[in-house]
């Protein structure tokens, strides 16, 4: 199965819409897919919510707005592999 990237740009939204939209999109992730969130700040408050929702993430400084957060489901090896490949390519 090939993992698909889902892109969400929240860099121009006012708080706390980025948090709200990211969590909604992350919870709707189908197995095998990962979410790439474009953000202008590091969303520290998002992490404990992701953890409680059974999601995993990696944050990368850079990209067009300042930060990229890559989110996938716990134990979803296909998505995790694709995230690793994406980060290695950056």
């Amino acid at each position: 199965m090939v993992a698909m990237e889902r892109l969400l740009n929240v860099s121009e939204l006012e708080p706390c819409e980025p948090l709200e939209r990211t969590l909604e999109a992350a919870r709707a992730l189908p197995g095998g897919d990962y979410l790439r969130v474009i953000h202008r700040r590091e969303p520290h408050l998002l992490y404990p919510l992701l953890e409680q929702a059974g999601l995993r993430w990696r944050t990368r400084r850079g990209g067009r707005a300042g930060y990229e957060i890559l989110i996938w489901r716990h134990q979803d090896e296909t998505a995790a592999e694709q995230v690793r490949a994406y980060l290695d390519a950056c």
Partner: protein, 447 residues
């Protein structure tokens, strides 16, 4: 960037802690408006009348003080990564003591009974002692303080000066001891309370919240690093100049010049904030931005007035001038800024705590409302219109007191009634969703 390294959900205080401060604060605003509505122009004759003193403290301690204390207990873990130790105890105790103290102080101003002023001193003094102790531990634990944390530390130091001076003044008012130079001491109490505690806290918190909430560029680094400290030192020097003017016979020009310099720094802050807001990425004008703009325009007006009094010294001796400064500062600057923050903080806290509860219970069948659903934009705008009409009426009442004083009181009470209604509706939505989540958590079939 939010410095929330090590932040866990458990570090945030229970929602009941900030909410008990936020929900009682508008009641003091309603009381202040009702008082002005009842007594009318008498409240605007002199800054020394019991009615004016009662009104001022309902606004500064009751409305502003409670919101600022509640917000500080809540936001320290978020912006400093440093929670207030024993926050439930600190929040509960300081809230009870402060609210009791504010109520008793009102009785003391109106001479409703012997010993009320002494009791108010004890209650307010211990309330602030509990609050300052808890907050200071949290602030001083931060190892690499950002300009916001440095500004908050200075604001808390200014609060201590304000409370000590206020205690001295209240003791003098109660006849516990004689105070020489009552006017000078009162001005110092006011300056440290308004420019120090309120001004420095507003400025340092805005370094975080304006870029974050309004999607603007950051404040210039030099401004964030230098200006809060410069203002604090400026206030200390002003204290010395005030002493030199009153006791050593120095020309009052130095003190006036220095006050204008402090005003100029606040004007610079207002100008930078308005400029940043002009450059914001999202062009939607919501009610929190309107409140914030009103606050900054009034801050420019206030700074202009401090410069004007330097050019026309006669203006300063007009008995209405201090009232003008007080109205613009409280109703124009501090309250709109605090109001704006409330409309951001309350929906966010409600949403965040419900989200946390939903994830803990793993109960996805009960939807958590969106943040915009907690306070409707229409209802918030209605309150904004009442608030600025109250400000306008209060300013007009300085020229035509018999025509506008009661109108200002009525509009101010209305504005706070609407604010209370908006906060209560947010709270009701929070409670009903929390109850639905708990029921769902108890029912194993609904997960």
């Amino acid at each position: 960037m939010l410095n929330t390294a090590g932040l866990s959900l458990e570090q945030a205080p229970p929602i009941s802690i900030p909410f008990r401060f936020f929900l009682l604060a508008p009641l003091f605003g309603i009381a202040a408006g009702a008082l002005l509505l009842a007594v009318g122009e008498e409240a605007l004759i002199s800054r020394w009348s019991p009615v004016t003193l009662a009104l001022t403290h309902l606004l500064t301690l009751g409305l502003l003080g409670l919101v600022m204390c509640g917000a500080m207990l809540q936001i320290l873990p978020v912006i400093a990564g440093s929670p207030v130790p024993r926050v439930v105890l600190v929040g509960t105790l300081s809230h009870l003591l402060l609210v009791g103290g504010i109520l008793v102080l009102q009785g003391g101003f109106f001479g409703l009974g012997a010993g009320l002023m002494e009791l108010a001193i004890a209650l307010l003094g211990s309330g602030f002692l509990v609050f300052v102790s808890g907050v200071s531990v949290a602030l001083w634990r931060v190892r690499t303080p950002s300009p916001t944390i440095v500004g908050m530390r200075l604001a808390v130091a200014a609060l201590v000066v304000t409370v000590v001076l206020g205690t001295l003044l209240a003791g003098g008012y109660a006849g516990l001891f004689r105070i020489a130079g009552l006017a000078g001491l009162t001005d110092t109490h006011l300056a440290w309370g308004l420019a120090g505690w309120i001004g420095l806290l507003l400025m340092s918190v805005s370094f975080q919240v304006v870029p974050m909430f309004q999607v603007t560029p950051e404040y210039p680094v030099w401004f964030r690093r230098r200006v809060p400290g410069a203002l604090f030192v400026g206030l200390l020097l002003w204290l010395w100049l005030r002493y030199a003017t009153l006791q050593l016979g120095w020309s009052p020009l130095w003190e006036t010049l220095w006050s204008a310099s402090i005003g100029a720094l606040f004007a610079l802050y207002a100008g930078i904030t308005l400029r940043l807001q002009q450059r914001r990425k999202r062009r939607v004008v919501d009610v929190t931005l309107l409140f914030w703009r009103l606050a900054m325009v009034c801050l420019l007006l206030l700074s202009g007035a401090l410069v004007a009094v330097m050019v026309w010294p006669d203006l300063g001796s007009n008995t209405r001038f201090p009232l003008f400064l007080g109205i613009v500062l409280l109703l124009g600057v501090a309250l709109p800024a605090v109001n704006s923050m409330l409309y951001k903080i309350v929906p966010f806290l409600s949403w965040f705590h419900l989200q946390k509860r939903q994830l803990t219970l793993m109960c996805m069948s009960v939807p958590v409302p969106h943040m915009r659903q907690f306070v409707s934009d229409t209802a918030a705008r209605r309150q904004y219109h009442a608030a600025w009409l109250a400000l306008l009426s209060a300013l007009l009442a300085l020229i035509w007191p018999s025509l506008f004083a009661r109108a200002a009181g009525g509009l101010f009470a209305l504005s706070n009634l609407l604010l209370l209604g908006n906060l209560l509706r947010a709270m009701a939505l929070y409670r009903s969703t929390a109850v639905a989540l708990s029921r769902c958590g108890d029912d194993p079939n609904s997960h």
